[in-house]
Symmetry: C2
Subunit: 241 residues, 2 copies
Amino acid sequence: MFKHIPPVKYYFSRNKEFLRQIYRLTGFYPRNISIFKIAFTHKSASIQFDNDKYINNERLEYLGDAILAAVIADYLFSYFPFKKEGFLTKMRARIVSREQLNEIALKLGFQQLVVSQMKINGTKNIYGNAFEALIGAIYIDKGYKKTKKFIISRIIKKHININDLILVDSDYKSQLIEFAQKNKLEIQFDDSEADITEQNSPTFISKVILNGQILGTGTGTSKKEAQQNASREALGKVLDI
Amino acid sequence: MFKHIPPVKYYFSRNKEFLRQIYRLTGFYPRNISIFKIAFTHKSASIQFDNDKYINNERLEYLGDAILAAVIADYLFSYFPFKKEGFLTKMRARIVSREQLNEIALKLGFQQLVVSQMKINGTKNIYGNAFEALIGAIYIDKGYKKTKKFIISRIIKKHININDLILVDSDYKSQLIEFAQKNKLEIQFDDSEADITEQNSPTFISKVILNGQILGTGTGTSKKEAQQNASREALGKVLDI
């Protein structure tokens, strides 16, 4: 069951099952059990004290969110030594997206761990949030270095495929239009059929024009394909990929 | 001049003046001088290599931004043990605001350190950005713990007045209206004069109604004061302060 021999206090603990779960998740035994209990306490199951104060995992979630962002920033900084900060920022957002965190928490079995008084009707955010709170708890209990090790070896390497994430959103035309709208730029597609009679299938050429400037040119066997290729080139320029 | 005796290599370095500056800023001598040189290199003074790759401080700024946010999150988490995450998030945003970072960088003398080919016409952001890049460089050179120590002892304790920042934006009415617009809530002020004839000055009473629900009540010797007090109460509820 255990790779490492548990500390003596484990055998005397009333929280044996909980400690076993933390060990399974993190690979270590906590010094401070309470902080991990709090990490799994959803707002709806808050513990009240002093009349107007409540204990739940929201503060730990705030802390864990920041620590997670720092570790991922560090990881990507080394992983992509020649990529620009625009690319790194985008990749980080994909790694720590709400959906991604919820999914990881479910894979780790947070359904069995989170204490909540709420009916979980469709929203999985409480699991992703508890996952961030767990990171906050590890940081408080073990410090930055061990938290970083936990995130890299038990989360990124096991549950995240960096190369897949690079390819997310490959609808370049939609992305480019979204970018243009966000930045209030005028966007135009200039499509034409290539004048090559010796080929069987006509080749389409598309140009993307942003605020009057040609930013991308693409070809394809359909107008759609040509526009996608032109958009990809333009996106590469505007997003620094 | 020096509190600590510099390492031997200092005396043989061609970068004596630069090392002295880093020592003045951080209290230590860097292991890796280059990373600190990069931290002060603005995009406009990028060093090109391999034809299409550029070295400047933008990647370090991305890294430093994340590390700074984590350290401040940690600091506030301990500093305010009973405040909710909404308050902590807001305080952090004030500490790491663009203006605040620019101001700190100027106080630290970044004007003399940043290498740039740009005419600095009005924008001080390049100093604030270089300050974040410096944090990235310290993190790479010395690790998280020393970076945290640097941020707390040399930045927060010397340049940031937490109590002043709590009081920033005390125009509660504007803040509440902004909040309502952002969250698409209907906001109304219901003002009346208090029916107290024995007092000299009439007392005003104001109620703030958000989506039909009274969220705050305030009194004052003017309508304005009553509205401010009512707004403060309502803000306290909606922002978890």
